[in-house]
């Protein structure tokens, strides 16, 4: 479903990604984990067509990734950008006008699930509720691929918990291929079918989470710590 072939990305003299190759089957939730500056976000943006690889290529569902891949890929940015005069409902309408796969019914259902009032202006919302709106906008698309950059980052524990529950409720793990970058591994690891560990722009390992627990007797946090402590 997602295939990354020997992708490198340099910004000037800095290397963000180094010879990355990954093949992901369709369906399931993949966690992309690593420390700050490991290349997680760059890799995710590369998949979303927002960053062009310096070398190598990315394919999603047989299509070479360019910016136009947005029709197949729902991308949740870690940034918090919005028009201050927009209401929650305006934002939903805007998103619906941009994407043919936008499911209004699902959006309504999610807004209710998260206790969000469509008539409220985005600028008056708490940071937690803006985080929730972003989740609604992303998951209301019936897109075959969903990419989420740090969906829990900077939010308090209660908001994080409600977002985790909404991911479980509204992602269709049979039909949608999801990749989530996160620092909050402990809170999200039960959501992941598999994890990719990345460090210094290189892939350290890709593993099935239940295999890690079953064969190695490790949690995902311990598994990642172990990989990080090995000399690269």
């Amino acid at each position: 479903m997602i295939s990354v072939n020997q992708v490198s990305k340099r910004y000037g003299t800095k290397t963000a990604l180094q010879d990355v190759s990954i093949d992901l089957p369709p369906g399931g939730i993949t966690g992309l984990v690593g420390e700050n500056g490991s290349g997680k976000s760059t890799l995710l943006k590369t998949l979303a067509g927002l960053v062009r690889p310096s070398r190598g290529s990315v394919q999603i569902d047989g299509t070479r990734v360019t910016r136009r891949i947005a029709s197949k890929v729902a991308y949740l940015s870690e940034l918090d950008a919005y028009y201050s005069f927009y209401t929650v409902g305006d934002m939903v309408n805007f998103q619906a006008s941009q994407f043919r796969d936008f499911n209004r019914e699902k959006a309504q259902e999610m807004l209710a699930f998260m206790n969000l009032d469509p008539s409220v202006k985005l600028k008056t919302l708490s940071k937690g509720n803006r985080g929730r709106v972003k989740i609604v906008l992303t998951l209301s698309r019936d897109a075959p691929v969903i990419l989420m950059d740090e969906p829990l980052s900077g939010l308090d524990p209660m908001v994080r918990e409600s977002i985790v529950k909404s991911l479980i409720s509204f992602i269709d793990v049979d039909k949608q291929t999801v990749i989530i970058t996160t620092h909050e591994i402990k809170e999200m690891e039960a959501l992941f079918d598999r994890v990719i560990a990345i460090k210094g722009g290189r892939i350290l390992d890709v593993a099935d989470t239940e295999d890690i627990r079953d064969r190695q007797g490790l949690s995902v946090v311990e598994w990642m710590t172990q990989h990080y402590s090995l000399p690269s």
Partner: protein
Amino acid sequence: MVADSFDTSKPIYRQLADQMSWRIIRGELKTGEKLPSVRETAVEFGVNPNTVSRTYSEMERDGVVETKRGQGTFVTDNQAVLDELRERMKQLHIEQFVREMEAMGFSAEDMTAGLQQYIEKRGSMQ
């Protein structure tokens, strides 16, 4: 939340099977009753729906539940299987108890005497 209900260094699908079995044995899920849907259970325990599917098929393999096409997953009405499950859980708890008591240096006599005493004391208080 996840962190509270599971040891994340052990397979979650098996721990979830234990929890569901516990509910069946305690009668919270009755013979022949429909289990919550995969999605409902996933949301309740904060785990991936694929994990729940794996739990349900594992329990089906053990004969504890049955999946009826298009209707969902049900607790078996085969009482012998449920009795066996209950017996297995008993063994599991005894093993754990004995292991921990041994680790603290208690002998078999200490354990049985301790158990006996506790049960009598508890009986007189009720």
